[in-house]
């Protein structure tokens, strides 16, 4: 299949999904009423509740939901063949993805801007909020592991990448200084820092710089050697890469957000945006076919598992993501000016993310120019597939391949890091809140951050990537299914038609619970008996986390279904 045809299919899914199905649900079921005051207007405090233009919110929502998830998921999932992956990206978004994002915003808007924690307490049960927090903590830990592995063990172990990343971070700090301290114009700041960041990426590809980083990473000055193993199975390159990740995240976790996270994110945004535009442009110029990439390979991929349920959790944010519901209800819903903006902001951003996931899908299926090369590069990391594919696309309009690969790698590292240090902040605050009374040391921000990062290192150093990713995907999709349950409950309580949210919940819940059971089975019954030492510890970690997530989700679902039954009985009694 030709790449342009895939892009056209994605556009058709957007036109049909957004223009017909979503608008129909919006018009006939939710029935937005612009005469009603939204929480942004009703409780305007200039801080959390502030009305914003729909286009601004659209950009804000998209920025909040797009990270490494929609890139890595499709690249890993095409091991089943391109057809099942493409079908799920398009249909998953069409029937489920936008439903969750949009309905989460409307739920927040109609329930006075309450978060999912407060809503689950009220609509499901008092213990639901605590369980949700436990769930979120483990989920975030898995994000740290999944992203940290790809960056620390994959991208940062290439000698062409570290200088570009360091330059972008340093220039992000300069951007913060120029904006907040020196009060410079934002356009001047942007031009200076982004141009210098590109210079940094270019300098990283020079032989002298590569030679320097090759020595640090243990490849020798010529870059042909093999890094020495330092401990466990960790060689010098992976050790340096993973350590660099936690050091960067440490600063992100403890420094004020305006000093580190915000300005670095700002500079990184432009690097990422220009990369996406450059990639799409090259793809359109090139518009290749899929060569020998198979439409379907097998029902059971070694290292991943059976097509159902694993494919559906592997693609993660490319089709549906639980993370979106948290951002939508706690952030976007409080800034919506009119109810009728919700579909454009929530649904529109999700369909755009689907398009983004399709580009990532194409980097693997057409960018690698063959199935064998795809499998070879995938062994390094899914992120390497993306950077190599993006480089191939950008090469079509003249960007040298070596520079394109370095650019693609820096692009991914920055995309992952911008999420990681914010996740560390959340983990730190969550642990202080939950255990701070019992262990006062956790209230110290340095202690909380270091503990979160040690957990992260344990995951990166011990557990194989595919296992982390599948478990992360399962946690992510399970949270989405719980959000859909909450939405169904809310719709029922308001006497609205709820099947369009309830059946997606049933499908996602069964699929993700099955994925967790598969994880536990694989970890405890297949891999653990054959494992020794740190490999055995890894399987215990995976198995225990899967069990915790399974139990938390099961209790939440049982409570939720009880509440659903109670609400239906109440409605029936009222009718009688």
């Amino acid at each position: 299949m030709n790449a342009l045809l895939v892009l056209l299919l994605a556009c058709a899914a957007i036109v049909l999904g957004y223009g017909w199905y979503a608008k129909r649900i919006d018009r006939t079921v939710i029935q937005p009423d612009d005469s009603k005051a939204t929480p942004a207007k009703l409780y305007m405090d200039g801080v959390d509740f502030t009305p914003a233009d729909r286009n601004v919110l659209f950009g804000y929502q998209f920025k909040s939901i797009a990270a490494l998830g929609p890139i890595t998921g499709p690249i890993v999932a095409v091991q089943y063949g391109w057809l099942p992956a493409l079908i799920w990206i398009l249909l998953g978004t069409f029937f489920i993805g936008w439903v969750q994002d949009y309905a989460s915003i409307m739920l927040g808007v109609r329930e006075e801007g309450q978060t999912f924690g407060a809503l689950s307490y009220r609509l499901i049960s008092p213990r639901a909020r605590t369980l949700l927090l436990v769930f979120i903590y483990f989920y975030l830990w898995l994000i740290m592991g999944a992203f940290g592995y790809q960056i620390g063990f994959g991208l940062l172990t290439k000698a062409t990448v570290p200088l570009g990343v360091l330059a972008a971070i340093g220039l992000g700090l300069l951007a913060g200084q120029m904006t907040y301290r020196w009060k410079q114009d934002i356009i001047l700041t942007t031009i200076v820092t982004v141009v210098l960041a590109f210079v940094g990426i270019y300098l990283g590809t020079l032989p002298a710089v590569q030679s320097f980083f090759n020595i640090i990473l243990g490849y020798g000055a010529a870059g042909t050697g093999k890094p020495p193993i330092l401990f466990l199975t960790i060689d010098q390159a992976k050790f340096v890469g993973s350590l660099a990740v936690v050091i960067i995240c440490y600063f992100g976790g403890v420094l004020p957000i305006w000093r580190w996270a915000q300005p670095i994110n700002y500079v990184c945004f432009w690097i990422v945006l220009l990369g996406v535009i450059g990639g799409v442009l090259g793809l359109i110029i090139w518009h290749p076919g899929m060569a020998d990439f198979p439409a379907f390979t097998t029902f059971n991929v070694s290292g991943l598992g059976p097509l159902w349920p694993i494919l559906f959790v592997t693609i993660a944010c490319g089709a549906i993501s639980g993370w979106h519901s948290l951002v939508s209800s706690s952030g976007t819903a409080r800034q919506l000016e009119k109810e009728s903006d919700a579909l454009f902001v929530g649904g529109g951003a999700m369909f755009l993310e689907m398009f983004f996931a399709t580009i990532a899908f194409l980097t693997a299926t057409v960018g690698m120019e063959g199935y064998k090369k795809y499998l070879d590069v995938l062994k390094v990391s899914p992120a390497s597939v993306f950077s190599a594919g993006l480089a191939k696309f950008m090469n079509q309009w003249g960007l040298p391949s070596a520079l394109g690969t370095a650019y693609g790698s820096v692009f991914l590292v920055l995309m992952g890091l911008t999420i990681m240090y914010l996740v560390v902040r959340f983990m730190r605050v969550a642990s202080a809140e939950a255990l701070g009374d019992r262990f006062p040391a956790l209230r110290n921000e340095h202690v909380g951050t270091v503990i979160a990062l040690l957990f992260t290192l344990a995951l990166i150093w011990l557990v194989p990537f595919l296992q982390i990713w599948v478990l992360f995907g399962a946690a992510n999709q399970l949270m989405a299914s719980l959000a859909l349950l909450l939405i169904s409950l809310w719709l029922l309580s308001k006497g609205k038609q709820y099947a369009w949210a309830f059946w997606p919940f049933v499908f996602m819940f069964l699929t993700t619970m099955a994925a967790l059971v598969w994880n536990v089975y694989q970890a405890f019954f297949i891999k653990l008996p054959a494992a020794k030492g740190e490999a055995a510890v890894a399987q215990v970690i995976i198995g225990v986390v899967a069990i915790v997530l399974f139990i938390a989700a099961l209790i939440l679902a049982i409570d939720g279904l009880r509440a659903l039954q109670k609400a239906r009985a109440g409605k029936a009694a009222a009718r009688a």
Partner: protein, 99 residues
């Protein structure tokens, strides 16, 4: 006449698109930074209000005379302070900052 109206319509359409793209980019880039600064400014304002009006709470920090002189400047923000501070906060609120 019709041609002119069409050209005007096209120009209007371009302007709307340009505006939408500008706003979209603003939402993806500096919007969060602006919100962060606004949040910081308001918090400092509330602290100043609490400090200068402490006399009314029985805490003799500045004299009531100075507090009352500053009151007209602080009044506009008291409502937003009341709303933001009195609202129930949840740890899941932090998820917004993770995006």
């Amino acid at each position: 006449m019709r041609h002119g109206a069409g050209a005007g319509g096209r120009a209007g359409l371009w302007q709307r698109w340009a505006y939408a793209i500008r706003q979209f980019l603003y939402g993806m880039t500096t919007y969060e930074m602006v919100r962060g600064l606004e949040r910081e400014r308001l918090r400092l304002g509330w602290q100043l209000a609490a400090l200068t009006q402490a006399g009314a709470l029985g805490i003799p920090l500045p004299g009531n005379c100075y507090g009352l002189r500053l009151l007209p400047y602080l009044l506009p923000e008291l409502q937003s302070a009341r709303r933001a501070l009195a609202r129930a906060h949840d740890i899941i609120d932090l998820c917004e900052d993770l995006g």
